[in-house]
């Protein structure tokens, strides 16, 4: 879960700087936004690649031999390429899709991992089931959360009242 925790932390920090009202980060240059968002995309891609590998193992009994299978040049590593590309796209699209897609990632990750772990625990007593549920849930949550929040805010004009979630006003 270290990777997931790191991804979550990056998302929250990036979202903080990108979305805080009146913050300099709100006017971040497209290149800076794309870099941050691309980095979050790397973490997202890793979580999704893991989730796919775990889901295939648990539901289809198609296993990986090592972590290297997810990193090498094969279809399993596609999320590791798509994640950063998606992140860069949201970063270049504007402040609102940038900030909201990252918030979507973070919240999707947390909600998905929690729900998945709970379901995994309910369906089986084995410790692997809880982990598998958490990872699959995290992969689904981070994907849905990021795409949903990014796309829904795609044409946002970037005004603070619409692009920054209420939760961030409270936190700051």
């Amino acid at each position: 879960m270290r990777l997931g925790c790191s991804a979550c932390l990056i998302c929250i920090i990036a979202a903080f700087f990108a979305g805080a009202p009146g913050n300099v980060g709100a006017q971040a240059a497209p290149v800076a936004r794309a870099t941050v968002s691309g980095a979050v995309g790397v973490a997202e891609g890793a979580v999704v690649a893991l989730a796919i590998a775990v889901a295939r193992a648990r539901f289809q009994e198609k296993y990986v031999e090592s972590a290297g299978d997810l990193i090498g040049w094969n279809w399993r590593s596609v999320p590791l390429l798509v994640g950063p590309l998606e992140g860069i796209t949201f970063g270049l699209a504007g402040d609102a899709p940038f900030a909201n897609s990252i918030v979507g990632s973070a919240s999707g990750f947390v909600i998905g991992a929690t729900a998945g772990a709970v379901i995994g625990r309910l369906v089986s007593d084995s410790p692997e089931s809880t982990w598998a549920g958490g990872i699959i849930g995290a992969g689904a949550g981070i994907t849905v959360g990021r795409l949903l929040m990014g796309v829904l805010n795609w044409n946002d004009d970037g005004s603070e009242s619409r692009s920054v979630p209420v939760v961030f006003y409270i936190a700051i």
Binding site: A57, R58, E65, I71, S126, E128, W131
Partner: protein, 368 residues
């Protein structure tokens, strides 16, 4: 923190009924570059000379005879090198005393002997090893055998001495090849073999260990594999980990059998490239779990409940059974520098000599 231990002296030779050696994962070294194989062969010779009953010395090779893909087909480029590696292990009982006293080596297949393959190619690869062993047995008149027979899960049952029944399983077959029906059949045969054991205690040997504090048991660095190895292992997504679904099914099946009868005294495996001694803590755990898979490769050892001993170093184990049924295990090991000696002839000769001399007992425990 592992518990302190008091070294156990070697039992009086007059009291010893039989000796069992356990080694595993030797598929990357040969007898001319491995001090361990030389030392093991000497140990087998010495014990064969000392014990007065024929067949008292037995050796179990716990799988992964040849890395990385088992024995290739005869006529291929890799066959010669693969054969040289396998022969180094087959010749462990080729010394004069071992031959005279009928010392035996039984090999169980490891996942690499199956080429890690879930299709027919894996079975074909294992048949090459089986054919080689059969040819050597017929040609050189030494007692070597692949058990259970290639492509069957077993158990291969050996009644050893007066006190023990050994069940040898092909857990790689279970994980890579076995259908649901075949798995059920194997569990039924294990159940029957344990039911019919009489007064004997049970020892189970297979490539995969029952409990492990190594990477295949989920004890791995969180940074391993760019942080991905850890969650993959914890979620059972790596087939050769004992956390994978197929292995968990085997474990569940065995636990049900152990619940009906009683757990075995010893469950020994290789697969992990380390030396481990772990006491069972649950009612259906084997009493003692041994891991001896560090002949030619090393991997980290973490911690596990009930762990008495763990070391990432080249080594093998010796189990001594006394006439009164007493059982003592000895772990023989050396420094990792002597895992594989260099190719240069002078350096290799020195390394082999020093490595041989550097072996010593690093752990011993009386089980009863």
């Amino acid at each position: 923190m592992l518990p302190a231990y008091d070294p156990i002296p070697q039992p009086d030779l007059r009291d010893v009924e039989s000796v069992l050696f356990l080694f595993g994962d030797a598929g990357a070294v040969r007898e001319d570059d491995s001090p361990l194989l030389a030392r093991l062969k000497k140990d087998i010779e010495d014990w064969s000379a000392e014990l007065d009953a024929d067949g008292s010395v037995m050796v179990i090779g716990l799988g992964d005879v040849v890395y990385p893909n088992g024995v290739s087909a005869p006529g291929t480029d890799a066959y010669h090198a693969d054969t040289a590696i396998a022969m180094s292990q087959l010749r462990l009982v080729a010394g004069p005393n071992a031959r005279r006293r009928g010392a035996r080596v039984y090999f169980v297949a490891g996942n690499h002997d199956w080429k890690d393959d879930r299709d027919v190619e894996g079975f074909e690869q294992l048949k090459h090893l089986d054919a080689l062993i059969e040819a050597v047995r017929a040609r050189d008149d030494i007692s070597v055998q692949l058990v259970p027979a290639a492509g069957t899960g077993g158990p291969h049952v050996i009644d050893w001495g007066r006190h023990f029944r050994l069940l040898l399983l092909d857990t790689s077959w279970w994980i890579l090849q076995a259908s649901d029906t075949a798995q059920t059949g194997m569990l039924s045969r294990i159940d029957a073999a344990i039911s019919a054991r009489g007064e004997r205690d049970i020892m189970i040997m297979s490539h995969h260990p029952f409990i492990s504090a190594g990477p295949h048991g989920g004890n791995i660095s969180k940074r391993s594999g760019m942080g991905m190895r850890y969650p993959l292992s914890k979620s059972g997504a790596i087939l050769q980990d004992i956390t994978s679904l197929p292995y968990r099914r085997l474990e569940e099946g065995l636990r049900r059998i152990f619940e009906r009868h009683e757990p075995p005294l010893i469950f020994a495996g290789g697969h992990e490239h380390s030396l481990q001694v772990i006491a069972g803590v649950k009612p259906t755990d084997p009493t003692i779990n041994l891991v001896s898979g560090s002949v030619s490769k090393l991997a980290d050892v973490g911690s596990e409940r009930g762990m008495y001993f763990g070391r990432s170093a080249p080594g093998y184990m010796r189990i001594i059974v006394e006439r009164n049924g007493g059982v003592t295990i000895f772990v023989e090991s050396t420094d990792s520098d002597y895992m594989k000696c260099p190719a240069n002839e002078n350096e290799r000769a020195r390394c082999m000599r020093d490595g041989l001399a550097a072996f010593h007992t690093v752990y011993s425990q009386r089980l009863r």
